[in-house]
Symmetry: C2
DNA sequence: ATTGACATATACTCATGAGTAACTCAATGA
DNA sequence: TCATTGAGTTACTCATGAGTATATGTCAAT
């Protein structure tokens, strides 16, 4: 039982929870209807509050979107981080990375990263968005190169292979449906197997 | 030299040319700035005319977009048609199809197909758009199944493989740049090799 | 009790962009 | 030569949605 008199900390936790609820509502609507077709009014209403509150917690529409994609990109960064610690050969780390990458991309914030294209953001936010995406791309290439280096895969063109694999996984953000067919984890596993079948040396 | 007195046919050719010019201008801007961020005013101005003329030739904004994606999907349909006539094993037809598919997807109208998501269209147009996309998906699966049938590839899950390959190729619509790096044809060829390496039986 | 900080709402402003009415002008055809 | 048609324009209407000014209530600390 918590006391009804919330401490300063309690209040700021409260605020963080509300913030997150608003952010999640926003990202869901963005994914469902598209960013431009979603008004902040709708975001607010979907949580039972009014628009100015969205500005209070999250700022203007551009900032809301930036926050959503930043969150998604942070999840992807964590996935890369975690994959580096996986034991085994390069390809094992790579596969672990790709699987978890795909799982994130099928989630709310990951989907938003994929569906958001640069022109939706202001010049400022756009620069940060692109930088974070480049970082992910670099992480993917590094992992490919490490696997090449330890001989667990054979790759002619790392850059193109990275784009190809990323594209295949990213696209699941468009078609995967949680309520039908395989789960995210199953889908991710199978896609990764399909993609990596051609990488292992014969 | 054509006569300055254009015949009825000449005039309707003229009209078709102008129509196409407007459509191309529209698709380029949609790709560059995004559909919602592009006004029909800008489309008109980019060709040196005024907005009502766009309505005169192409109809409302939804119809313009539908026309763009229909054109892109028609190109893809042609590609599928042509690939069926390619001689050789199933995998040869498949590879020919995928290469040309990728090339289309890196072009103006193909890119627009990829970048357009359902919610941008009215319910009516959306239905037609989805139907055409399903048709393409079916074509891709058919080609995979044919290659499985004649033993030139081994595939565990045709549906998922189709999504995976399509995703990898579709994504090039997002990153490929005509003015830098490899040409469309080179890029397409190399992506297809990467993707098919894992399909051929060992 | 009083003050101040924060949460939340009402009720606006303002810009933008879709879509249209209505006009002009030129060529075509009877 | 006059009527018709189609190309193209100007100058609007109208809805929507981003963003804000300002009011109100509520809690916590003094």
């Amino acid at each position: 039982m918590t006391s009804p008199f919330r401490s300063a900390q309690g209040r700021s936790e409260d605020r963080a929870i509300k913030r997150q609820a608003l952010l999640t509502a926003a990202v869901r609507l963005f994914n469902e209807r598209g960013f431009h077709a979603t008004s902040l009014d709708e975001v607010a209403t979907s949580v039972g509050v009014t628009k100015p509150l969205v500005y209070h917690y999250l700022g203007n529409k551009d900032q809301v979107l930036l926050e959503c994609v930043s969150f998604g990109l942070a999840q992807l960064r964590e996935v890369a981080e975690a994959a580096r610690a996986v034991p085994g050969r390069g390809i094992d780390r790579l596969k672990a990375f790709l699987r978890r990458y795909a799982e994130v991309v099928m989630g709310d914030f990951g989907r938003c990263v994929i569906r958001t294209s640069d022109e939706m953001l202001t010049a400022d936010s756009r620069a940060r968005f692109r930088a974070a995406k480049r970082e992910m791309d670099a992480a993917m290439r590094e992992m490919l190169e490490a696997a090449v280096a330890d001989g667990s895969v054979r790759i002619a063109d790392v850059r193109l292979t990275a784009f190809t694999i990323a594209g295949a996984l990213n696209w699941s953000a468009r078609w995967h449906n949680d309520d039908a067919g395989q789960s995210r984890a199953e889908t991710a596993r199978d896609m990764v197997d399909i993609l990596c079948a051609g990488l292992e040396p014969r």
